[in-house]
């Protein structure tokens, strides 16, 4: 028989290759088209605003605040979990920063303390989810209250001025400027590459995809399920620490409610980007564009002359449209 029949027997027709490409990258193509359409709408609707660099400099500063966590949350959701506790992790990590900074006078040590608290929060989430075996949705609702409440208790509900950190290296590293571009945008870019590499080119992401797609398969084939899931929660904790510091340092003030407004934006960025809530499917590229879509809407709508009241309903509509496009693409292009 044709045991040696080569896999490349006949040249593949272009239409088939295109189709195969479209199937493989449906989600990414969908989000790219949606992103381009939205941005073209803004440019035509408000050319003076969307063709100047000032609006982009503004996005470069504000979008990373909720989008850095979204990058790593994407990985958690790909593995079939979810983490809603990051808005509690942000203030608790900042408590670590503030206490260490006040005790030692070093904002650099404060940075490491904040990261350390983020790691501990992630370990705690991961341990409760995997060892006790409670769904992460429930656990992280609980720890969201726990972490943010703990921050309030530890600070007695008061905010802390951080003006004197402005001369520190950490201040420049997290909220400085490179030329005229806010540095947190570069962090967002770097961390997006890191998250992409971890999800698509690393054992961690390989295992995350398998766990999210078919947990039974992961178990039968010896995937380290517990370790992988815990590690993903830890990454979100670290991202929360970074974001909490960026946000507080840029305001020169740490108030215990830091990050509380980001929950919906962060989740929206992930789901607009095409990541499946059921796990096994998702992309960092999608989340990256999704973040700018949800983050750009407010400015875009107001710049186009609508009142701010329109922002929320249009955001809602955009989320629904984006998620519907992803669902339809998935069903059609099997």
């Amino acid at each position: 028989m044709s045991a040696s029949a080569p896999a490349v027997s006949a040249p593949v027709p272009l239409s088939r290759r295109l189709r195969s490409f479209a199937v493989s990258w449906a989600s990414q193509i969908g989000i790219t088209v949606a992103f381009a359409a939205l941005w073209l709408l803004f440019i035509f609707g408000a050319p003076s605003v969307f063709l100047s660099d000032r609006i982009y400099l503004s996005f470069a500063q504000t979008v990373p605040y909720f989008a850095i966590v979204a990058l790593f949350l994407t990985m958690v959701i790909v593995a079939g979990d979810i983490d809603l506790s990051f808005i509690g992790e942000m203030p608790l990590c900042m408590v670590g920063f503030t206490f260490t900074w006040q005790a030692t006078g070093s904002a650099e040590l404060g940075f490491f303390a904040a990261i350390g608290v983020g790691i501990l929060c992630g370990l705690f989430n991961g341990a409760v989810v995997t060892i006790i075996g409670i769904p992460s949705l429930v656990v992280t609702i609980g720890t969201q209250f726990l972490f943010s409440g703990l921050a309030l208790v530890l600070l007695n509900g008061k905010s802390t001025p951080l003006v004197t950190t402005n001369s520190s290296f950490i201040y420049w590293l997290l909220v400085g400027k490179v030329g005229s571009i806010p540095i947190d945008f570069f962090w967002f870019l770097i961390l997006a590459v890191v998250a992409w590499a971890l999800l698509n080119r690393h054992r961690l992401g390989h295992n995350a995809y398998v766990i999210g797609d078919n947990k039974q398969a992961a178990q039968l084939m010896g995937v380290p399920i517990r370790r992988t899931r815990i590690m993903l929660f830890v990454l979100v904790g670290m991202a929360s620490a970074i974001t909490g510091m960026m946000n507080s340092l840029s305001l020169n003030n740490f108030f215990p409610g830091v990050g509380s407004g980001y929950l919906v934006y962060t989740l929206a960025a992930v789901f607009i980007g095409g990541t499946s809530v059921f796990g096994g499917r998702g992309s960092i590229y999608g989340t990256f564009l999704g973040a700018f879509m949800i983050g750009g809407l407010e400015a875009g709508i107001v710049a186009m002359g609508l009142t701010a009241y329109f922002v929320t309903p249009i955001q809602g509509a955009i989320i629904l449209i984006a998620v519907s496009i992803h669902a339809i693409l998935q069903q059609r292009l099997r």
Binding site: P6, A7, H206, N214, A217, G222
Partner: protein, 301 residues
Amino acid sequence: MPTGERESARQSASSEQILAALEPEAASEAGPRKRLELRHISKSFGGVRVLKDVNLDLNSSEVLGLLGDNGAGKSTLIKIITGVHGADEGQILLDGKPITGLNVQRARQLGIETVFQERALADQLPLWRNIFIGRAESGPLGFLKVGAMRRTTADLMGESMGFTSTVLTPNTPVQGLSGGERQGLAIVRALHFHAEIVILDEPTMGLSLKETDKLIHFVESIRAAGKSAIFIDHNIFHVYSVSDRIVVLDRGRIAGQFATSRYSLNELMEIMREVASTGSYTEKERYRDVEGAPTKTEGER
């Protein structure tokens, strides 16, 4: 229809191709040798004893059929051999040496591979990721060697799975595959990593007649290569036609072992019926010694 074309293009896959992938070595002429021995294995889940003092041997060049009703403990036994669960009591020996700290990774390193069928495939993930579930090739920092894994997958698809269709690439998600193709993938995945003992868990489930034939050929090729297989199925016809020896599990115990060369299919079915109703097989005068079966099992009877 493109789907129709795909089907016919891929139907050219033949059992010979799967056979060829096995690189059959000459079966050892020194006669059967014990590969795997289970000694007094017991296992309970939440107070329910699923396995009670199970003793089982598997020889080289042997296909062992495992039969039993739902809840007889077949899959628990398999999961203990493959390291998914640990046994509460008892010992597992491989080539005469006791194995300690058995888990899935270790079992695979030792050459125990399981074909779990589609239960162990990740639907939305591309073929190459499915081939390498649980043992991705990666560098020292854990970064994947994606190119190498894709190439391996493409080679396996061409040579072993007989996927000649140009629509399927290593990047194709598994959800686009037919039942037979999925099975080919699951089998090739097990064999690519030099399996010595292949465990097939309900392998004929959901297969067409033609695909079942192919599977039977494949199992026979395992024996021809001097390797061992455990074939678990609810279908006695399939098990009988392919096995050298059949072990009947009932309510967590081994109810009997029968060499297929000495029992007709009808006799076996009668025995199975009796086991199902009484929990054991008592027709002593018809019981004949099973070649290679441990004396302990005989003593128990």
